[in-house]
């Protein structure tokens, strides 16, 4: 589905991604975990063509897409759920969702938008109930649903999700991740970057660990959950706890 080789990107002279290679197979939930500032969001933005890479290759469904415009990336089946939802607070839920379908209208496939909208409403009944409510008035969890729904409105095969758990209560996080799981079961491929390693590894198939712009580890979710480095750095198991266990 997605294959990245030696990707480098950054902002002006600051190199954030230092040669990233990774792949996502169709139907997988892949996560990239890492601390703040590791370059996770930059990676998703680079795949989405919001940030231009300085070198490397990106293949989406077998097609080289590096240098395409952001809307071309959406058209080729890859949509981003951005960090912090980025909704339009003064537009209604329905309007926010329909904005996600702009590439469909351009492709004169506007009819599909109605179908997708219905799917999203059945997935998130609460959004249907409140479709005329302004997005800014929603809770964090509901806003996240709108953000996911908006990305789904372009009918993507690959969904990129940037910190979907951010700022949400643990129970809501659980809810959001079970929705993500459901999306995979309905045939979507998902790439999630997350700081909440525990929650995301519970639903992911595989994961990569990113540190200061480089990937340092890859493995099945189970392998990563059991890895001491990952436990120490990302699962909130503190150093002392480990030394205590040994003593």
């Amino acid at each position: 589905m997605l294959r990245i080789r030696n990707l480098e990107a950054g902002y002006d002279k600051l190199k954030v991604l230092k040669g990233i290679s990774l792949h996502v197979n169709p139907g997988e939930i892949i996560t990239i975990i890492g601390a703040n500032g590791a370059g996770k969001s930059t990676l998703l933005k680079t795949i989405s063509s919001i940030v231009r890479p300085s070198s490397g290759e990106i293949h989406l469904k077998g097609k080289a897409v590096k240098g395409s415009s952001p809307d071309a990336i959406v058209k080729s089946g890859c949509a981003l759920v951005p960090e912090g939802r980025q909704l339009f607070p003064t537009l209604t839920i329905r309007e926010n969702l329909l904005l996600g379908a702009y590439t469909l209208y351009r492709k004169r496939e506007g009819k599909k938008a109605d179908e997708y909208l219905e799917n999203i409403y059945s997935m998130f009944p609460v959004l249907k109930e409140r479709k005329h409510q302004l997005a800014g008035t929603l809770s964090g969890g509901e806003q996240q649903m709108v953000a996911i729904g908006r990305a789904l409105m372009s009918g993507p095969d690959l969904l990129l999700m940037d910190e979907p758990s951010m700022g949400l209560a643990p129970i809501i996080v659980k809810n959001i991740f079970s929705i993500v799981s459901g999306l995979r079961n309905s045939g979507k491929t998902i790439l999630i970057v997350e700081q909440n390693a525990k929650a995301v590894l519970d639903i992911a198939d595989r994961g990569y660990v990113m540190e200061t712009g480089s990937l340092v580890m890859e493995g099945s979710a189970e392998e990563l959950l059991n890895n001491n480095d990952v436990k120490r750095a990302y699962l909130g198991r503190d150093y002392k706890e480990f030394t205590d266990q040994i003593l």
Binding site: R3, G19, H23, L215, V216, G219, N226, N227, F242
Partner: protein
């Protein structure tokens, strides 16, 4: 049977992507965590971010046994020691062993890679697998043990039991698969014949043999005499142990577990990469090991790499049977031995540079070692048999205690070992035929 279809029959393109990813991650790890590699790359001005493809691997220097010996015991580990859950070791060139550490994850991977080896030979959960490798510091015993458990077989860890006991176990417990060195399998066959036992009385149908070079000739001999099908497999402790490459049912080369190891073949003298199919020294890079990752490790084993699809469906490249060594390492009953180790030992005892010769023979499948040692001029003058015997005994015991080697010691007069025109004594005379 293919143990891990998803990994063993990957499209070459997908496999290459995986190898590049894993290689880059391994390099990121070792550069951060292993001072040996960090210093080496800094010294040579190597930027690990320049390694963008498998071809770029050639920009990296080799790792040798000597490098690892210098890192004794734990210097080359890439994780904190508390993450290491198992330690094996293997003989170095001059007495200092090479210590290999495994994390939990390393053991899990190792176990499933050995599972691939066994499945490829048709071993299933219905088999009784007798493991006649010494369970010790070397990796053969425990490596196969956990792999066989993983596929659900009943494991019989007969380890270093005496051969008659091995045969009794084999008979009474209805062993269906034997894991050992090929030499030991032959030894079992000889003892069976000696005792007038028909191998047909046994339940044995499969043999997995490795740890020492062998040949097609030896394979057919073992197969005829034990009435089994015999499979070759390859591994070495520095890299992981068994599970690096193995034969499938087509027995046309040994499939490399390429999703975990990258294989290269080099000319051991010029260090140039050799084209596919040409024989040279095997070089391996580990791409998933956490505890003890190795970049371009020179194995000293001679083979060549074959690519192209195998009828079994696996897409991995294969190596041919190991045909020998590039160095003077001997493999005695599956254990590695260097003449330099014997030299160091004799030096300890005699206090002067020893002159010696090792003669290797194979009798009934077992290796027979004779060590001929020249004694100093004054030695025989004493003419005390007792003193000579004590000296012999001392060498004998030291060999057993430090190297685990049982050898016949022959003391000979000074300058009696054949030297040609002031050259050094030929240290090893290997009379074994494969």
């Amino acid at each position: 049977m293919i143990f891990s279809r998803e990994n063993e029959t990957m499209l070459r393109e997908d496999l290459e992507q995986l190898q590049v990813e894993r290689l880059q991650m391994t390099l990121n790890q070792i550069y951060r965590n292993v001072s040996f590699y960090r210093n080496l790359y800094n010294e040579k001005g190597i930027e690990i971010s320049d390694i963008k493809s498998l071809d770029d691997l050639t920009r990296l220097p080799f790792t040798t046994k000597e490098d690892l010996r210098k890192s004794y015991p734990y210097e080359a580990f890439a994780v904190p020691l508390r993450d290491i859950v198992r330690i094996h070791s293997t003989s170095g060139t001059s007495g200092t062993p090479i210590v290999v550490g495994y994390t939990k994850n390393d053991l899990n991977i190792w176990t499933s890679l050995v599972g691939r080896v066994l499945s490829a030979a048709g071993i299933t959960g219905h088999d009784f697998v007798q493991i006649a490798f010494n369970y010790s510091q070397s990796t053969g015993g425990l490596g196969f043990h956990y792999g066989a458990e993983k596929i659900g077989a009943s494991v019989i860890p007969s380890s270093g039991e005496k051969v008659l006991k091995q045969i009794q176990i084999m008979k009474d417990y209805r062993t269906s698969a034997l894991v050992s060195t090929p030499g030991y399998a032959l030894h079992i066959a000889s003892v069976l014949e000696e005792h007038g036992m028909d191998p047909q009385e046994l339940n044995l149908s499969t043999g997995l043999f490795g740890s020492e070079p062998w040949s097609e000739k030896l394979r057919s001999e073992i197969e005829t005499r034990l009435k089994i099908r015999a499979f070759d497999n390859y591994g070495l402790s520095e890299i992981m142990g068994p599970g690096i490459a193995f034969e499938c049912e087509k027995r046309n080369g040994l499939h490399i577990n390429e999703d975990h190891f990258i294989a290269e073949v080099i000319n051991p003298d010029t260090l140039e990469i050799l084209p596919e199919g040409e024989a040279g020294e095997l070089v391996f890079t580990t791409i998933t090991k956490q505890g003890f990752p190795l970049i371009r490790y020179r194995t000293g084993d001679v083979s060549s790499v074959i690519s192209g699809e195998c009828e079994c469906g696996r897409t991995t490249r294969r190596i041919r049977r190991i045909s020998g060594r590039t160095d003077d390492m001997m493999i005695v009953d599956g254990n590695n031995l260097f003449p330099s180790q014997i030299e160091a030992l004799l030096f300890e005892i005699e206090g002067v540079e020893p002159h010696f010769q090792i003669i290797l023979k194979r009798e009934e499948g077992l290796d027979n070692v004779e060590l001929r040692v020249e004694v100093t001029g004054s030695f025989f003058a004493f003419d005390e048999i007792r003193k000579v015997q004590d000296f012999q005994k001392k060498i004998r015991e030291e060999l057993i205690n430090t190297l685990g080697l049982h050898a016949k010691i022959t003391l000979i007069e000074p300058k009696s070992l054949g030297r040609t025109n002031g050259e050094k004594v030929k240290r090893v005379i290997d009379l074994r035929t494969l």
